[in-house]
């Protein structure tokens, strides 16, 4: 028998085997070796799930804990707000001019021009900052701390604040311009860093539409570093 004949016979035999197998599998469901595949898929899914959960935990923990500054950076002292002495000068200003509540805005601008002119005579202006009522109220709450809301921090009793910074000439002080500024109309009071470095917002000087004597200003426990300095001078019109 030739190889070709043998191959034809092998084909017939293979057909018989196929038919026999189909007949046997018709009676019973075909079983596929899927067990290991399913197990591996479960394992892969479990590993992926654990990875996702782990990543979420790591990210959550990272977000929850504030990042510490690098060790190499210079140590910095951070004072939380409303802790310790707070001053109207802690923004770096040298001169604080409080304008009467209710004064017209053009009056405030006039005072600003006069103050800038006066300070320019004894030094070089570096910053002139005008705080309108809203900002001045926020400043009053910040300086006066808790309870400020019930101690007169209202639009009608909050002075407008004018902050000025300058580099003074040798021998000059902000006290030199203080009397001039106090003579300006609608100026409530004028503080300098030297005389009122730490002080409350002078709400007490003008409350409920009435002027309050300067002497009623409550001294702070943590007052100026130089206790011998005179108290802030009240304005002539205040």
């Amino acid at each position: 028998m030739t190889l070709d004949q043998l191959l034809v016979e092998a084909g017939e035999h293979l057909d018989d085997l196929i038919d026999a197998r189909r007949a046997s599998t018709d009676l019973a469901p075909v079983r596929h070796p899927r067990g290991p595949r399913i197990a591996v898929r479960f394992a892969a899914a479990a590993v992926a799930l654990a990875g996702v959960v782990g990543l979420a935990l790591v990210v959550g923990r990272h977000d929850a804990t504030p990042s510490s500054p690098p060790e190499s950076s210079a140590p910095t002292v951070v004072t939380p707000p409303h802790v310790g002495p707070v001053s109207v000068f802690d923004t770096g200003a040298d001169l604080a001019i409080f304008i009467k509540p209710g004064a017209a805005q053009d009056q405030a601008f006039l005072i600003q021009e006069e103050a800038a002119h006066a300070v320019a005579a004894i030094g070089t202006l570096t910053k002139v900052e005008y705080l309108p009522t809203d900002s001045a109220m926020a400043e009053a709450r910040r300086v006066n701390g808790a309870g400020a809301a019930s101690s007169g921090v209202r639009p009608e009793s909050t002075p407008t604040l004018l902050r000025i910074s300058a580099t003074l000439k040798a021998g000059a002080t902000f006290a030199d311009v203080q009397p001039v500024l106090l003579q300006l109309p609608n100026v409530l009071t004028v503080w300098t860093r030297a005389t009122g470095a730490v002080g409350q917002y002078p709400l007490c000087c003008y409350q409920d539409g009435n002027a309050v004597p300067q002497t009623t200003l409550a001294p702070l426990a943590t007052g100026p570093t130089d206790s011998t300095l005179p108290p802030p001078v009240s304005g002539a019109n205040g």
Binding site: L6, L7, E9, H13, L14, D15, D16, P36
Partner: protein
């Protein structure tokens, strides 16, 4: 059975029943030749089931048998991973009518040693009488490649059988 396959002109099936009568048998034989009785048979069952489910698409292809053969290959591939020892055809000595079973089993054992594509080409062309063109369409190769596969496969079989005898 074989004579019918050899003499009847094959045409593109018009409907699924026509495919089952003609193309499905070709696909089953090819998959069994490629992967063996067990894996190839299961893959053929699954592929034909997919073809029935998606016949609206499969029926539009130029050669649905070749398309379903590809499906069968995809179905068979995962099974191969978990079979350390693949048994193809040689583990059964079931009786067959008008066939010298020992000689056929002996030949099938030799065929198992051929490469899958070579084995499939030899079985489809030499045992079942399919044309080179049909086998080329099924395997996705050119007719000359099929010719080479058959020629080299038969040569290898000759060598194997001579050594064995």
């Amino acid at each position: 059975m074989i004579a019918d396959d050899l003499t009847e002109p094959r045409r593109a099936p018009k409907d699924f029943d026509a495919f089952v009568a003609d193309g499905a048998r070709r696909v089953r034989r090819a998959l069994v030749a490629f992967y063996g009785l067990e894996i190839g048979g299961d893959a053929a069952d699954e592929a034909i089931a997919v073809a029935w489910e998606k016949w609206a698409v499969v029926g539009l292809t130029d050669d649905p048998a070749a398309y379903v053969f590809r499906i069968g290959q995809s179905k068979a591939r995962p099974h191969l991973r978990w079979r350390a020892r693949r048994t193809l055809f040689s583990d059964t000595g079931a009786p067959s009518a008008n066939v010298d079973v020992p000689a056929a089993v002996d030949l099938l054992r030799a065929i198992e040693r051929l490469r899958p594509q070579q084995r499939t080409a030899v079985i489809l062309v030499k045992s079942y009488g399919y044309s080179h063109r049909e086998v080329a369409a099924l395997l996705g190769v050119s007719e000359s490649v099929v010719n080479n596969l058959v020629h080299r496969g038969v040569s290898t079989l000759r060598t194997l059988l001579e050594v064995r005898s």
